[in-house]
Symmetry: C2
Subunit: 330 residues, 2 copies
């Protein structure tokens, strides 16, 4: 089964927006975000409501920047990390756009971009809205421990990015195009440590990267920049090592959104994670670089760990996935 699809008429990015949290707003990519919120509560009484507010706001910003009215949008493809993807659900009901809820963990943004691009290229939509969010505090208390407890973290653990991003995809003219995508398989390498998700996900990124280059026949130096979603420092090193074993060396052209989004001294252990991690870096930094002509060809590889607390507690391993989307702008 071929995982890659190339579009004869590539869907284009009509508009995009990003909102980042306080810690992300102190990181090296701060200037690339449309808005930075200075408090995790964002004037709401719960973190969950803050996440929904940020998500709805970023969607409205993306529509405005694209000069697209929500009535013109055919489908809203969205997800997040909370149980029952409630952030996406509540944004969807505020928008009233026909809605497909998605969940591929931290790869959900890339899952949405792939499905959105296919719906447009297949002739079923003229405009599609893709949106995701994640929030440090909502994720922390859902997946790990009560935040008040201040539990120590292992060096391989990652910091969930607070933020939301939205992209309006369309047909026809647009600066940034999506010429091809590679859909990931769910894989399982027998990893069991939910505090080392970067390590668990690295082989999925490796598998999807190899499939992408093999199926497209592109040379390994085709892309100006490639970034995995949230492998962070340790996971990314494993990926680099796996590639070296195949004599593939991307050098500086391969990086990771979870490494890029924070400075090493921001006390984030291995680096960033979360659905918003790849989304903020892609729709913030990368789209800006593409638009300004600093790079022309980018491959993003959204990575996701498909576990839950229950599967970990029941002694099961961590399935992983990685979806790749290329963005090009000339």
């Amino acid at each position: 089964m071929r995982q890659t699809r190339e579009f004869a008429n590539p869907p284009v990015v009509l508009g995009y927006a990003t909102i980042a949290g306080p810690k992300e707003g102190e990181g090296p990519l701060a200037t690339y975000f449309d808005k930075i919120i200075n408090n995790l509560y964002y004037y709401e009484d719960t973190w969950e409501k803050a996440e929904q507010k940020m998500f709805l706001e970023v969607v409205e910003m993306a529509l405005q920047k694209a000069s697209v009215k929500k009535e013109e949008v055919d489908f809203f493809l969205a997800g997040d990390l909370l149980n029952q993807i409630i952030s996406a659900n509540f944004v969807a009901k505020s928008l009233g756009i026909p809605f497909f809820g998605l969940y591929n963990a931290c790869a959900t943004f890339y899952e949405g971009l792939i499905l959105g691009a296919m719906l447009i290229a297949g002739g079923f939509a003229k405009k599609v809205l893709v949106g995701v969010s994640s929030h440090y505090a909502t994720v922390e208390r859902q997946y790990r421990n009560p935040t008040e407890q201040g539990v120590q973290k292992t060096p391989t653990s990652q910091w969930t990015v607070t933020g939301a991003a939205a992209v309006v995809l369309g047909e026809g003219e647009g600066k940034i195009k999506i010429p091809r995508v590679t859909v990931g398989k769910a894989l399982d390498y027998g990893m069991f440590d939910p505090s080392d998700m970067g390590g668990a996900m690295a082989p999925a990124a490796f598998d999807t990267l190899l499939a992408h280059f093999k199926e497209t026949g592109l040379s390994y130096d085709y892309y100006d920049l490639m970034a995995t979603g949230d492998l962070a420092r340790f996971g990314w090193q494993i990926l680099v090592k796996l590639l070296q074993e195949r004599n593939i060396n991307f050098g500086q052209r391969l990086t990771d959104c979870g490494i890029m989004i924070y400075r090493p001294d921001q006390q984030v252990n291995a680096g960033g994670s979360g659905t918003a991690c790849s989304a903020l870096v892609t729709a913030g930094y990368v789209f800006n670089e593409l638009s300004q002509g600093k790079i022309h060809k980018f491959l993003g590889i959204g990575t996701g760990a498909l576990l839950s607390q229950v599967t970990s507690q029941q002694g099961m391993s961590i399935p992983v996935i990685a979806h790749a989307v290329s963005f090009e702008c000339y």
Copy 2:
């Protein structure tokens, strides 16, 4: 924004399978299921593992019945009701088919059928596998109370269907075709009672039904049979009343999977619910009736309540959605 899409070359059903739980196996549709398991543990040590086992098995049955090898399947579209859709994730990693994880609560089966049909009709897939599951005990302890507690239920509450269903969609020839679909919007009618999800979802089914007939121009007597996903007795009565207010009377031609799947004396309160509810009735009973020529035109309206425990605890209302798919066989 038009919610309905009609396919010039309708995708077809190549194969399908259903596995039902013990209670469903004692219900009026028992003879339509491919397999009935007689214990909620299904020879596993946890209910969650039982759900995954049933889900993987039904997928393999559907592939076999369709005479399709898993290597021939382009995409696996799947979801379930557990946090992080772990049942779907673990089946996906066992299959190794490029995977899109979905979540629209109990409407996930219909969400998957719509996206699968579009991926085929759009030329991005020749064969797509759609699968869902739900399990009384895994859902009960995740969303409600420890099962050991035996908490009393209100009359409007519903019984989560234990079961799994899978459908192989393809292009070209096939008896059952999917000529058109209507994508639902997430709506919110200010309902707050998580023990009355049928009542919450009824207006979403109403909205999607009206959109379907308005946009297609089909007459109200076009379909031989129509069934909502899991409104159950009270929700379905509300839907009938909403339709009557518009002078629409479908009579016997409109029913509900949550009413059909159990006998009234099975102590299920208002009726069935869960992702497997509409999936078992559609891929079990309805596909059989279509194949045997007892009916020719069916419209299924998968219904979903997009809440979570957290949103209920934080005093938020229940967003709802309904997706419609028509199946025709001559």
